[in-house]
C-alpha cells in the first residue's frame, strides 16, 4: 500500500488536545506523522483535504448487527459498511443475536465475519448470562480470549441484583466493562413509549422514566459495592443523568452513553404512531433531552453511541403496539451530533470527536480514538459545513428504520480509513 498524505485539513485529535491545520502521513497502516507542512515521501498519494476535518475514526460501543439470526435486517458486513459510511472505524456488536453470542464459538464467528467484511473493525460484546436469560453467568474468560471486549445482556435487563453483582466482580478479572440496558421490567410492563401526555393522548401504554432510573441507581450502587466497571447504555432521563453525576462525584467506576435520538428527539416524534420513533428506552420529554445534552456537555455522559438497531421494513410496517423497538443510527450519528450539539453550541467540534471517538475507545480499552504517531490509521475525513438530506434508500445499512428521514444534517463524511486502507469514500 502506498503512503498516503492527507494534506491541509483541520486535524483534530482529542487524545492529545491537538487541533490545527496540518498534513497527516499514513504508512503501513499507521499514523507516521502530523506536521504543519510535511514533504510527501516518494510515491505517496496526496489528497487535498483543505477545509475538511481529519479526526480519529468514530467509535460506537453499542450496535446491533443482527448476525447470526436476522440477516434479513443486517449482517456484520452490511453493518460494518454502514459504519464506515457514517465515519465509524470501530463498532461493538451487542450479543442479542440468535443464537445469543454467549460463548467463545459465537464470539469467534463475529470476529471471522468482521474480518471477511474488511470494513469497520467489529468487536463482539459477549452476553452476561447464558442465553441472556439472567440466570447463569456466561464464560467471560473464554469469550474475552476469543475477542469479546465487554459483556452485556442488552435488550434483557439483568433483573437479579445478585447476578449483576457477580458479573461486575467477575468482569474485573478480565478488565472489561459490564454494559447494561437499565430498565425495571416490572415497571416498564407492556409499555411501548414514554409514559407522558403523548402516550395518554395516543392511548399507548407508557414506560415511566422511573423504570430506567431505579435500575441506574441500583447499578451504580452495585458498581460501588464491587469496584467493577459499570457502563450504562443509552441514558434517556433527567433522573438518570443526575444519578450518574452523583455516582461519578462519589468516585464510582461508572460510565454512560447517550444516543443521537435521545439528544435530538422528544416523545412528540411518536405522534401519528410512527413506528420509526419506537425504541427502548423510549423518546422522552423536552426536559430529559435537555438533561441528556447537558450530561454530554459536562462529561457526565461519557460517550455518544447509536444503539443501531436494524429491523426489516415489514417488521416496522404495522400497528405501533406490535412493531419492534429500535432505530438505526450509524449513518446519521455524526450529522446529528454536528447539527444538534455542535450547531447549538453545546459542544465544540473537538469535544464532539472526543465523545464519539477518543472516549469510547478509552473506556472500552479499544485501539483507535487517537492520531498519535504509531497509532493504527483509523481516520475519518469529513466536511464540517456540508449539509445533506437523510435519504434512507441510500443507506449502506440493510435496514431503513430511521426517524430522521428527510432531515437536513450537517457534516458529510468524505473518507473513512481503517488501518490506513480507504474503507469508504464518498
Amino acid at each position: 500500500m502506498r503512503p498516503l498524505v492527507l494534506a491541509g485539513g483541520r486535524v483534530i485529535d482529542p487524545s492529545r488536545d491537538y487541533d490545527a491545520v496540518a498534513d497527516v502521513l499514513i504508512r503501513d497502516g499507521v499514523i507516521e506523522g502530523i506536521e504543519s507542512r510535511l514533504t510527501p515521501p516518494d510515491g505517496a498519494d496526496v489528497v487535498d483535504v483543505a477545509g475538511k476535518v481529519v479526526a480519529p475514526g468514530l467509535v460506537d460501543v453499542h450496535v446491533h448487527l443482527r448476525e447470526p439470526g436476522r440477516e434479513d435486517a443486517e449482517t456484520v458486513a452490511t453493518g460494518a459498511r454502514a459504519a464506515t459510511a457514517g465515519g465509524f472505524t470501530t463498532v461493538c456488536a451487542m450479543p442479542n443475536t440468535d443464537p445469543v453470542t454467549d460463548n467463545q464459538a459465537a464470539v469467534g464467528f463475529i470476529v471471522k465475519q468482521a474480518e471477511a467484511a474488511a470494513a469497520a473493525r467489529v468487536y463482539p460484546i459477549g452476553a452476561i448470562s447464558v442465553g441472556q436469560r439472567g440466570e447463569q453467568l456466561a464464560e467471560f474468560g473464554e469469550m474475552v480470549a476469543a475477542g469479546a471486549i465487554a459483556v452485556s445482556d442488552d435488550g434483557h435487563p439483568v433483573v437479579s441484583s445478585h447476578l449483576m453483582r457477580t458479573a461486575l466482580e467477575y468482569a474485573r478479572s478480565f478488565n472489561i466493562p459490564v454494559a447494561e440496558h437499565c430498565e425495571d421490567p416490572s415497571l416498564a410492563r407492556n409499555g411501548v413509549m414514554h409514559a407522558g401526555v403523548v402516550a395518554t393522548r395516543l392511548g399507548l401504554s407508557g414506560i415511566p422514566a422511573a423504570a430506567e432510573d431505579v435500575m441506574v441507581a441500583r447499578n451504580i450502587l452495585l458498581a460501588q459495592l464491587t469496584g467493577g466497571h459499570m457502563h450504562l447504555c443509552h441514558i434517556s432521563t433527567r433522573g438518570s443523568v443526575d444519578l450518574v453525576r452523583w455516582g461519578k462525584q462519589r468516585g464510582v467506576n461508572v460510565t454512560a452513553e447517550a444516543t443521537p435520538h435521545h439528544f435530538a428527539l422528544t416523545h412528540d416524534a411518536c405522534e401519528n404512531y410512527d413506528t420509526n420513533a419506537k425504541m427502548n428506552p423510549p423518546l422522552r420529554e423536552a426536559a430529559d433531552v435537555e438533561a441528556v445534552r447537558e450530561g454530554l456537555r459536562d462529561g457526565t455522559l461519557d460517550v455518544i453511541a447509536t444503539d443501531h438497531a436494524p429491523h426489516h421494513y415489514e417488521a416496522k410496517e404495522r400497528e405501533f403496539d406490535d412493531a419492534p423497538f429500535g432505530v438505526i443510527g450509524l449513518e446519521t450519528s455524526l450529522g446529528l451530533g454536528m447539527k444538534e450539539l455542535v450547531g447549538r453550541g453545546l459542544l465544540t467540534l473537538p469535544e464532539l470527536i472526543d465523545r464519539m471517538s477518543t472516549r469510547p475507545a478509552r473506556i472500552f480499552h479499544l485501539p483507535g480514538g487517537s492520531l498519535r504517531r504509531g497509532a493504527p490509521a483509523d481516520v475519518v475525513v469529513f466536511d464540517p459545513t456540508a449539509t445533506w438530506r437523510v435519504e434512507p434508500e441510500r443507506f449502506r445499512s440493510r435496514s431503513r428504520n430511521t426517524p430522521f428521514a428527510g432531515w437536513d444534517l450537517v457534516g458529510r463524511v468524505d473518507r473513512t480509513l481503517v488501518g490506513g486502507r480507504t474503507a469508504f469514500a464518498a
Binding site: A195, L202, G203, R318, E319, D322
Partner: protein, 326 residues
C-alpha cells in the same frame, strides 16, 4: 360560510372542530326518527358496501353499526378476527387490501391496538370509521353520549361532566374528553389514582379523587365499565372494595338533590361500578344511549359517504317516495 365536512375518515374526536362535531350531532337528529318507523329503512347508502372488521370481541357496537348500515340500505359484511385470515398470520394491511380489491366503500374497524384505525385509513382508499382502537378513541361512542346529554339538557356548553372509573385504559374516556371539551363542557375524571394517567390534566380536565366529590360537582356522570383484569393486573385490590369506595350507589346519589344524568357505555358490571338501582333508576339514560347509537352511526356513515347534512331530512323521506313507485 362553508359547510363543514368530515373528510375521508372518522378516526377520533381529537382532531375534529366544534363545527364538525355539531354537524354529526345535528345530522343524527333526522335519523333518530327512522328507527321509530314500522319500516326502518331509507335508501341513503343503497349500493354502498360496508365491511365491519372486528379484531376484538364486541356485541353492541357491532350490532349498532350493523343496524345503522342496514337502515341506510348499505350492503354489509361482518368479519371477525377469530377464524379469519388474520389468525393465519395475515397482517392488517393485507386484510384490508383484499377487502378493498372486492370494491368496498367503507370499513368500520375495531382493533385492540391504538392507532390501528389510522394505520388502516392511511393505506386504503375506502372511508374508515374507527369503532374503537385500543386505548385511544371510540368516537361514535362519545358522539352518542354527547347526543344523549344534549337531548336531556338541550345543550352541552357549560355542563359539568365527570367520567368515572378506569380512565387510563379507556378509549371512551379519551373520546369523551375531546368531544365534550370542544363543545364547551367542563370535564372531570374520577377513579382510583392507579387508573388515572398522571398527565391527564394536560388534556384540560379536572381530577376528583373521591366519587362523592364528583357526584357533588357534576351534571352528568359517565360511568365506565371496570375491566375485571384490572384487579389481576394489580391496579386495584378487589372489586368489592372498588364498589365500596368508587361505586355509584343510590345512597351517594341521594345526597344531591338536583338533576343528574347517569350514562354508561356498557356492558355494565352491576354491583361494581354502578348500583342496579342507579342503572335502572330515574337518572339513568343508559338505554337512550343505545338508541341514539344507531342514529349517530347512521349520521357518520351518511356524512362520510358524501351525504349533505341539509339533505339528511330529505334522504330519510325517500323511502316513502320510492315505496310508492314499486
Amino acid at each position: 360560510m362553508t359547510v363543514p365536512s368530515l373528510g375521508k375518515d372518522l378516526l377520533g374526536l381529537e382532531h375534529l372542530t366544534p363545527d364538525q362535531l355539531r354537524l354529526i350531532l345535528d345530522t343524527s337528529e333526522p335519523f333518530k326518527e327512522v328507527s321509530e318507523r314500522a319500516i326502518k329503512k331509507v335508501p341513503a347508502l343503497r349500493g354502498k358496501t360496508i365491511v365491519n372488521l372486528f379484531f376484538e370481541a364486541s356485541t353492541r357496537t357491532r350490532i349498532s353499526f350493523e343496524f345503522a348500515e342496514k337502515r341506510l340500505s348499505a350492503d354489509t359484511v361482518n368479519v371477525a378476527a377469530q377464524g379469519s385470515a388474520v389468525q393465519k398470520g395475515e397482517n392488517l394491511v393485507d386484510t384490508a387490501r383484499n377487502l378493498e380489491a372486492m370494491r368496498i366503500d367503507m370499513v368500520v374497524i375495531r382493533h385492540p391496538s391504538s392507532g390501528a384505525a389510522k394505520f388502516l385509513a392511511e393505506r386504503i382508499r375506502s372511508n374508515v370509521v374507527n369503532g374503537g382502537d385500543g386505548m385511544h378513541e371510540h368516537p361514535t361512542q362519545a358522539l352518542l353520549d354527547m347526543l344523549t346529554i344534549r337531548d336531556h339538557y338541550e345543550k352541552i356548553e357549560g355542563l359539568k361532566v365527570c367520567i368515572c372509573g378506569d380512565i387510563a385504559h379507556s378509549r371512551v374516556a379519551r373520546s369523551n374528553i375531546w368531544g365534550l371539551t370542544k363543545l364547551g363542557a367542563q370535564v372531570a375524571v374520577c377513579g382510583p389514582q392507579s387508573l388515572i394517567p398522571g398527565s391527564i390534566e394536560e388534556l384540560g380536565v379536572v381530577v376528583f379523587r373521591r366519587i362523592e366529590e364528583a357526584i357533588e360537582w357534576a351534571d352528568v356522570l359517565n360511568i365506565l365499565r371496570l375491566q375485571l383484569e384490572r384487579m389481576t393486573g394489580g391496579y386495584i385490590p378487589s372489586l368489592r372494595e372498588y364498589y365500596r369506595v368508587f361505586g355509584v350507589t343510590l345512597e351517594r346519589l341521594e345526597r344531591v338533590q338536583r338533576d343528574l344524568l347517569i350514562l354508561h357505555p356498557g356492558p355494565m358490571n352491576r354491583g361494581v361500578e354502578i348500583d342496579s338501582r342507579v342503572a335502572d333508576g330515574p337518572h339513568s339514560v343508559i338505554l337512550d344511549q343505545v338508541t341514539n347509537g344507531v342514529a349517530v352511526r347512521m349520521a357518520v356513515l351518511y356524512l362520510l359517504a358524501g351525504g349533505r347534512p341539509e339533505l339528511a331530512e330529505a334522504a330519510k323521506g325517500e323511502t316513502e317516495r320510492e315505496g310508492r313507485g314499486t
